[in-house]
């Protein structure tokens, strides 16, 4: 990680004061802890708490939250690490696919970190639902390439819609926790802010 001073955004105002190293390190450790807990919950608990064939994707929420509060770089790295960890520990049959999908989610969502923070829950929730849909459709496309055939109607009704709803229900919880850990001050990590 760079030793350059980190720019801080406070409630949407781009005040350019620096954040001291210990505080910044603590926040990054919080991101890592959130990602680890998210992965643990995802692989150990959520596969059993399904509705129809849908499983909530808590990792998407964590990656989106990390990206929203710490920028594209942290979001992308968090997504990559979370995806790789899932694929290494769960009997999933792929390696690198989820890592890439979560990485893209973190990278794209991190761009919103540079904007004023939303005052309502709706915008980040829309991001979480859109990101979940992206991951589901992306992973589904890879499965199709690997030869798995599934009816689009079945996939949409039994997998995609329940997954989006469950993820949307879990999203606020993750956002609230992330806001408490990372929200004040919001930081865009190096490389992402124009100087």
């Amino acid at each position: 990680m760079s030793t350059r001073p980190t720019r801080v955004l406070t409630a949407g105002r781009s005040s350019a004061h620096t954040l001291d190293v210990p505080e910044r390190g603590r926040a990054l450790w919080a991101v890592a802890l959130m990602a680890l807990i998210g992965v643990l919950v995802q692989v150990s608990l959520l596969p059993y708490a399904r509705v129809a064939d849908g499983i909530a994707d808590i990792v998407v929420s964590v990656v989106v939250a990390a990206a929203l509060f710490r920028g594209s770089l942290v979001g992308a790295v968090t997504g990559f690490a979370s995806g790789m960890l899932i694929e290494l520990t769960a009997p999933i049959g792929t390696l690198g696919v989820l890592a890439l999908l979560y990485l893209i989610v973190g990278s794209v969502c991190g761009r919103y970190c540079e904007r004023a923070e939303a005052t309502a829950l709706l915008p980040p929730m829309v991001l979480i639902v859109a990101a979940t849909a992206f991951v589901q459709l992306g992973y589904g496309s890879v499965q199709l390439l690997l030869g798995t055939s599934v009816f689009a109607v079945d996939f949409t009704a039994r997998v995609l819609v329940p997954t989006l709803i469950l993820s949307a229900l879990l999203g606020p919880l993750v956002l609230v926790v992330a806001r408490r850990l990372l929200g004040e001050p919001r930081v865009v990590e190096p490389f992402m802010m124009p100087r």
Binding site: L40, Q42, V43, S44, L45, L46, P47, Y48, A49, R50, V51, D53, G54, I55, V59, S72, L73, A76, V77, F80, G83, I86, E87, L88, T89, A90, P91, I92, G93, T94, L95, G96, V97, L98, A99, L100, L103, I104, S107, Q136, Y139, G140, Q143, L146, G147, T148, S149, V150, F151, D154, F155, R158, V159, T163, F191
Partner: protein
């Protein structure tokens, strides 16, 4: 720059992963190695969250039961019983009791290795599960995996990856899973694989002159897709015929099959670890 590098790493990783032959290769070995290391943790986590899982399962079964008018009265009685304190534990016990006798018919060739499913994929593509038994217990790649059902046993899948203390079972509902089957009543043979409807199976290559009807039992046939010996011994029940495909000009018919066991609802299974030369030959694919 860093993000681009990570993208390249991802693309390279999954390209190499799928280019590795079978389950061999450094990336598959890495995945197996990590699985082996985290298996005890997964086992602990599985045990820790089991009450929550059972509670969820009980809740959803309650909702589903209300949708089935025909069995409502019977289900209500059962669910009311569940509602009493401690019934969740009894459900666990019931699942374990179902394993009694599973695999006994094959004990001349296989050792029964009871196992707990400690991991499901955290995605919606239910193709595999992780077991807390491995080569230390005699489990090898291609070992058949069975589960208990009321009144007997049924095929769940086969082992596709093994470490000393853990293994991965690929379920019969996985898209690349093929098994030769027989429908004993009309003595019809065919090939069973996953259907495009999640959780369902479809049997093909069944000669039209064999009259197949809904309700007939489908069992392993002891042969594989290419008419060579199968990794499964013959006679393991797989599922029930639910419908027979519409007539077409072909000389063969297609049959829809509902598996006896929904892999997503199984907590305990029995792995058949080969002990005889014949069983070991089966597992090696020869």
């Amino acid at each position: 720059m860093i993000v681009s590098a990570l993208v390249v790493v991802c693309l390279a990783t999954f390209t190499l992963f799928f280019r590795e032959a079978g389950d061999a290769g450094p990336l598959h070995s890495l995945q197996s190695g990590v699985s082996s290391i985290v298996a005890p943790v997964q086992k602990g986590a599985t045990s820790a969250v089991r009450p929550l899982r059972d509670l969820w399962g009980w809740s959803t079964s309650l909702v589903n039961a209300r949708d089935r008018a025909a069995t409502l009265e019977k289900e209500n009685a059962r669910l009311n019983a569940f509602a009493a304190a401690g019934q969740i534990d009894q459900e666990e016990l019931r699942q374990q009791k179902l394993l009694n006798g599973v695999g006994e018919d094959y004990k001349t060739d296989y050792a029964r290795v009871p196992a707990e499913l400690i991991g499901f994929p955290p995605t919606n593509w239910y193709a595999r599960g992780a077991l807390y038994v491995g080569s230390d217990s005699g489990v090898v790649v291609n070992s058949p995996v069975l589960a208990g059902v009321t009144g007997g046993e049924a095929l769940v899948g086969k082992i596709t990856s093994v470490t000393p203390n853990s293994s991965v079972v690929t379920f019969i509902t996985e898209s690349a899973f093929y098994v030769g089957i027989t429908i004993p009543d009309p003595r019809a043979r065919g090939i069973l694989q996953a259907s495009s409807t999640p959780g369902q199976l479809v049997a093909t290559n069944i000669p039209r002159e064999r009259r197949v009807e809904p309700g007939q039992v489908v069992a392993t046939g002891g042969f594989s897709k290419i008419d060579s010996p199968s990794v499964f011994p013959p006679g393991i029940p797989v599922g029930l015929v639910t419908s027979v495909g519409s007539p077409d000009p072909d000389a063969q018919q297609t049959v829809q099959v509902k598996p006896f066991v929904d892999p997503r609802s199984v907590s305990y299974v029995v792995v058949l670890a080969p002990t005889s030369d014949m069983a070991k030959r089966r597992a090696s694919g020869r």
